[in-house]
Subunit: 166 residues, 2 copies
């Protein structure tokens, strides 16, 4: 009965970002291999860029980053990769930002909630069972079958709050 309650806290300012990218990529590769999903060169690079940006990033930003490193790319190039990565549960789309972010529990197909800082742009991914069960209860009362949830909370993170009163 125990449900996961991971929280990717807003990352500490001094965390080892290179390691966290590498870890995410390793996990993605293992996951795709296990499931027979084709994490091609392009898809791998897009995923890597998303993690490297370290916060939700737009499709056209990614596109520009790809072309700047010499690859021929047009919008469909990036959107197809994003579609693959989303279907494979390796990234999430943040609807309220039209932006994409790496998933913290790849392949889990969990119901994620996001807390998005309007100042620094970072997004914290949560999986709060209480929110999920409250929604489930409402849905039951309505006779509504839930397919997709979009739970996004915008505001100011603790770090930015403490550093804005200069």
């Amino acid at each position: 009965m125990s449900r996961l309650k991971h929280t990717k806290q807003f990352p500490a300012a001094d965390h080892d970002h290179k390691t966290c990218i590498a870890h995410a990529l390793q996990e993605a590769e293992a996951y795709c291999k296990q499931r027979g999903l084709r994490l091609t060169e392009l898809r791998r690079r897009v995923l890597e860029l998303i993690w490297a940006n370290h916060q939700p990033v737009g499709a056209y930003d990614l596109l520009e980053q790809l072309t700047h490193e010499g690859r021929k790319a047009a919008p469909p190039t990036i959107y197809r990769s994003l579609d693959f990565l989303m279907q494979s549960d390796l990234i999430h789309r943040i609807t309220s930002l039209n932006a994409y972010v790496g998933c913290n529990h790849p392949g889990l197909n969990h119901a994620a909630q996001f807390f998005i800082c309007e100042d620094c742009g970072q997004a914290a991914e949560m999986d709060d069972a209480k929110i999920e069960s409250a929604i489930a209860k409402d849905a039951k009362r309505l006779g509504f079958t839930v397919e997709k949830r979009t739970i996004e909370v915008a505001g100011i993170c603790a770090h930015c709050k403490h550093h804005s009163n200069t």
Copy 2:
């Protein structure tokens, strides 16, 4: 301490839609008068169209409806009216649909949640204190100051579920 728990259930098939539009417009006018907000001809008509559509409706759909009735209108025309109506808490934007829908409790500036039927396109507006408090608790734990919530659940409503097994 009692918090509202309104539910605009998915409207019954036989509800009196004309009355519900008229009622919404009356409320909006009273509300704007009381607050000194200028519900101009254009804004009033946009609000009326939104209610008349009876489900979340896109900006360009509204634009077309306006032009079809002879009014000169370009995108800014409609977006400015939508901005006014949102700021005045008379409509909501449904982020996941890029669409706009009439608010059931005008001026209340409440935290709304939406259950959106992917079949019929109707959206039910809720205000579930449990969801709200779960989010507040997470925010507190993160030290996060909440500004805006986007809570949208897509799926199939009871009515469509019962009528799809033909």
